[in-house]
Amino acid sequence: MAQLEMRAVYAQTLIELAEKDDRIVLLEADLMKASGTTIFKNKFPERTFNMGVAEANMVGVAAGLSAGGKIPFADTFGCFAARRTYDQFFISANYARLNVKLTGTDPGVSSAYNGGTHMPFEDLGIMRNIPKLVVFEPSDPVSLKKLVQKAAAHQGCTYMRLHRKPVDIIYTEDEPFELGKGKVLRDGNDVTIVAIGVIMVHEALKAAEMLKSENISAAVIDMHTVKPVDSELILQYAQKTGLIVTCENHQIMNGLGSAVAEVLAENCPCRLKRIGVEDEFGEVGTQEYLQERFGMTVGHIADVVKKNLK
């Protein structure tokens, strides 16, 4: 499978948006090299604002730029985006009904060598509590590009988790995307694996292939938007397969697993297992080590499915 570096796709998508719309501006907090957006700065130096290591001020300034009619994208590591700027994002951007696009990079175990201090396992949950906020996490370079375009066009704030590294391409270039509408990547009858983000969508697809060899038919849904979550699609597949397994590079509390559980509990009781971090802090290690450590692997997904099939 062809690979593309996610951050390069992000920067290129922002450049294309900025070429068409002079309201697009970019803010960074001394992580421009990490975000990979230096090429944006080189192209649009006057529309790029590096605010230094001051994330709260960065998000507040982004809100002010939005109040002045701009469409600001603001980047930092997800841990800082969610924890350190929460009140600024909540009040100055969201409560003020402005139009700030916040990007939290290095979701969950992809923080790897930066370790537990930098490993956001809670950002989807924190962000999901902000009224009207759109919260999403693309799974591959194509969905990243399409969803960033949709976020730019959306009138209101968004929070995106961005996995920065090179990632296999899943979708074809002409695949259409909508925020809030999940993608059925693979149909199936026995179980539905609902996954979010680069790591878990890729692991889920491999798990479905592995299960196929054992005559288990697994559907895989890329639920890229956790808020608003695609209830219709969840209910359709709950009725169709009777077992849902959610997969997220995040705490199982308050993120995708909780969002799916809420939909199921109120509408269509169905068996549900949630795969993700179970009330633990992050720690340091390679991404592979951490995926094993927190059960974010093909093998673990396949085991959970088999244990819970009737």
Partner: protein
């Protein structure tokens, strides 16, 4: 400033002070101390310096104010009502369910409010963002910002203090309402902010310090700030918390206090002589 205009501004400030005491008194409780300490700066801005259009509050090219100490909203609402942004009878709806005039400034509810504020420390960043947007758009109008002295305890104030001179935002004119009191007591006892002049100067701002109840002083300071070519301005206003209301002035409990409406009406009658 001509003597006649000075007299007009002084008379207008008394009107605004009465309207503010009345609206908080009518409700029975409110942030009267910090609202009354900014009456004069709001008056000199809205009746002499700011280019705003009550009939077109969202006009693209306008001067903007970020009232970062958002709890002083009731004083700004009096100004905006008097300017005709909305009917004066709205002032008696302050903080009532469904009102357009909430305790803290809300740009989506109140015509003429340029930024939602209320979580202290955030307004400086918003003002910087608006000033950057103005510069990108070639808009010459100014961004005015009012922060509190207690608010200056917030770390975000100093993040913004660092950023505005870095971006050479000479279109940003800020004020500190230095009324020397915060909720729990005197600022110098709770969390001292001194030496304010030296701090803002060290961060790279053009700093002036004037009497925040004196129109001539404030007017000259604003005129000097407008002439700055490279630096944002900080005008530190020495003010009196609760200024002009006999039941509140200089009282340590005046941040958010109960106000009996009869007392408020009496205070309004006494404003002219106080």
């Amino acid at each position: 400033m001509e003597v006649q205009e000075l007299k007009q501004l002084e008379a207008k400030a008394k009107e605004i002070r009465k309207m503010t005491i009345d609206s908080i008194g009518y409700l029975g409780v409110g942030h009267i101390g910090g609202a009354l300490s900014v009456v004069e700066v709001l008056t000199v801005l809205y009746y002499r310096h700011m280019d705003v259009s009550p009939g077109d509050p969202k006009k693209k090219n306008r001067d903007k104010l970020v009232l970062s100490k958002g709890h002083a909203g009731p004083a700004l609402y009096s100004v905006l009502a008097d300017k005709g942004f909305f009917p004066k009878d709205w002032l008696h709806t302050l903080n009532k369910g469904g009102t357009n005039l909430p305790s803290h400034c809300d740009m989506n509810r109140t015509p003429g409010i340029d930024m939602s504020t209320g979580s202290l420390g955030q307004g400086i960043s918003a003002a910087i963002g608006i000033a950057l947007a103005n510069r990108l758009d070639g808009v010459d109008q100014k961004v005015y910002l009012i922060i509190g002295d207690g608010e200056s305890n917030e770390g975000q104030i100093w993040e913004g203090a660092m950023a505005a001179p870095h971006y050479k935002l000479n279109n940003l004119i800020a004020f500190t309402d230095y009324n020397k009191m915060q909720i729990d007591g005197y600022v110098h006892e709770i969390m001292n902010v001194e030496d304010l002049d030296a701090k803002w100067t060290a961060f790279g701002w053009f700093v002036q310090r004037v009497n925040g109840h004196d129109f001539q002083d404030m007017d000259m300071a604003i005129e000097r700030a407008k002439k700055e070519l490279y630096r944002p301005s900080m005008i530190i206003l020495d003010t009196i918390k609760g200024k002009g209301a006999f039941f509140a002035e200089r009282r340590l409990d005046n941040h958010n206090m109960n106000v009996d409406y009869e007392t408020a009406k009496e205070a309004c009658r006494l404003v002219d002589d106080f």
